[in-house]
Amino acid sequence: MTKAFLVAAAISLAAAPAYAAKAKKSDAPRKEKKTETTPAPKPPDTSLDFDLLGDATPKVSAAEAARQLEIENQVKLRRGMLLWHQALGIATWVGLGATEVVGQLELSDKYGGGGDSGRYLVPHEALALTTAALFAAVGTLGLLAPTPYKRPFKLDTTTLHKIAMSVATAGMLAQVALGFLAASREGQLDQRTFAAAHQISGYVTLGAMSVGAVVLVF
């Protein structure tokens, strides 16, 4: 009896559509000849009027709305500050390069057979002070820009940029100090030593700034 039931169940899976069609045929009136009309197939549902995931949008409370507004304001401020950070950063990089070139000319004029005319001294000092001021402004903007969307620490391009600019900051401070020191040793035998140290710190600063810029952009 159980076997017969199982066999019937297995057959029904295969024969269900055929059986349904046969059942329909036997219901049709025998005397009248009518053409059977199969119902028109249901048009496929193309509408997006379905909800499989539920509404995830949380209702915004007054406190949450205020927080969102605060974040918006911080984002606007951040974007503005970083725009200036980029613009002044490029200007600082160019200025530092020009300072290095004029500084090298000054060094060659003083110790490289240039006759120590002193004609590059004032331009070098002017460029150096302007670049140092720009560097300070750029660094301040970068450090003080708000971070409304905090992300976990990663060793990524931004971190490398910050490391390189930290080296550049140390180099900038060193070369400003060494520059004043070298200038104060005019006529002394050790002036050339301080000038060389000032030159090296200048190149290190420019190199670090270049690395800091390149890692962020590319």
Binding site: F5, A8, A9, S12, L13, A15, A16, P17, Y19, A20, P41, K42, P44, D45, T46, S47, L48, F50, D51, L52, L53, A56, T57, R67, Q68, I71, E72, V75, R78, R79, Q86, A87, I90, T147, P148, Y149, K150, R151, P152, F153, K154, D156, T157, T158, L216, V217, F218
Partner: protein
């Protein structure tokens, strides 16, 4: 009497064959690719909510949702910049709803079926129509993988394109989808 008994056995099984089937997401990724003049950026989200419903006439309805702060490009600053651009606090998720018609579901497994989806994407509070060609890979009747992709216009969703060194990213945002789905038990 025997005929009635047989009918009682036949019709429940016939009814089961006509039921819609629902699949839920169990893993998978959604990723975006953004191009800047100086570099490319790919962000991947592994926290995707997805559900699909297969209707008897071969219609497949799919809905998927991913939180914008779940996308990780490997660069924290760029991820933060992305959240700023899409106003992640106000519009925390990107959603997709699509329908494919006339999909011939496989009888043998494993199998792969192509489907063309039409629907919409909701991003940054803006809804835009979207289409996607996808491959539905069935390892068995209860498991499927949806692999597909499409391209969006950032500005079409009211998003200001981010820039770096005063150069904006391309407007084109390429989306890739790889969703693993499991059939829900009835």
């Amino acid at each position: 009497m025997r005929k009635i008994l047989l009918l009682g056995v036949l019709f429940p099984f016939a009814a089961l064959a006509q039921q819609p089937a629902t699949f839920s997401g169990e893993g998978g990724t959604v990723s975006y690719k953004l191009v800047h003049k100086f570099h490319e950026m790919t962000g991947v989200s592994r926290s995707v909510e997805a559900k699909a419903r297969v209707l008897p006439e071969g219609t497949i309805q799919v809905a998927a949702r991913a939180k914008v702060d779940s996308f990780d490009s490997g660069n924290a600053n760029r991820d933060a910049h992305m959240l700023e651009a899409v106003e992640g606090t106000k519009f925390p998720a990107v959603e997709v709803k699509m329908v494919a018609q006339g999909v011939a579901l496989p009888a043998k497994f494993p199998a792969e079926v192509k489907a063309h989806f039409k629907g919409a994407v909701v991003f940054h509070g803006v809804q835009q129509p979207q289409q996607m060609d996808a491959a539905l890979k069935f390892s068995d009747p209860g498991h499927a993988e949806v692999v597909g992709g499409f391209a969006l216009s950032i500005e079409a969703f009211g998003i200001e394109r981010p820039s770096l060194v005063f150069v904006k990213v391309d407007d084109d945002l390429k989306i890739s989808v790889d969703l693993k789905m499991k059939k829900d038990s009835p």
